[in-house]
Subunit: 134 residues, 2 copies
Amino acid sequence: MPESKIIDLFALNTSSGIPIYRQLVDQIKQAIMMGMLEKGQQLPSVRQLAKALQINPMTISKAFAQLELEKILERRRGVGMLVAQQSKQTEVPLVVSESMQKFIKIAQQHDLDNEAIMLLIQQGLSVKIEGNQS
Amino acid sequence: MPESKIIDLFALNTSSGIPIYRQLVDQIKQAIMMGMLEKGQQLPSVRQLAKALQINPMTISKAFAQLELEKILERRRGVGMLVAQQSKQTEVPLVVSESMQKFIKIAQQHDLDNEAIMLLIQQGLSVKIEGNQS
DNA sequence: CCTAGTGTATTAATATAATAATACACCATT
DNA sequence: AATGGTGTATTATTATATTAATACACTAGG
């Protein structure tokens, strides 16, 4: 994916109540999972993004700081940012996406809305382990 | 489910960063979805819960205020709280749970952790319509 | 070295949310 | 009406998170 198009990956919603930097973090992880960003891929500069998205450069930087902590991106002062070669986030296998789509379809056919679906999954994930982690 | 056992439904984590009242809201919705709370079912009183869970009564009340707004519970001053007969939250059909469990199993077999699974679903839900928007 | 491009540490301003204390409102039973 | 149980509006405190401004740090290329 050409660097110029990467900016189009981001769809920020400033009135959703979800912090901008978190939206950035999530959307980058998702882009990698969907195969839209590859390891070694260079990202647009903090200032380019900040200008294009009309937000403060530090907000971008904060998002990337978190992503670096999680070993997903590498930041290089004076150079730029790129998807880490050893990124912990990787593209999701097709069978997984397919299984998910099947599940979502069935859930929607039974009138579950998005929030209910998220809650159900959350429940499903926490039940696996007896007692609560998190 | 006997009222005395309902308190056991709640597993609050005061150090998770997730607000207590939101944990209560989510856990009640989940309990209904899992069939552990039924329509018309009476809930323990605000003060009983507050004492058992070691939190302020107003925190319980806040959670229930939200659930009433969403037409899930009914609150009756001087009487108590109960699951609304017309509750918008309903038990999830078995086929849905099964499909979900299948999906979770496959995802975990492919090394997705809980956070990745949640992000994936979130992505899956936001990409509603495949096709042209031209 | 100088410049113009990278990213960022520090700090401050803002915004907002979460929790709790209090006193009050409502209801059923006597 | 008195009592003892319900829930709650109001208010204040606290905590904390988010965003932004500024000045600084690093790098590549001329």
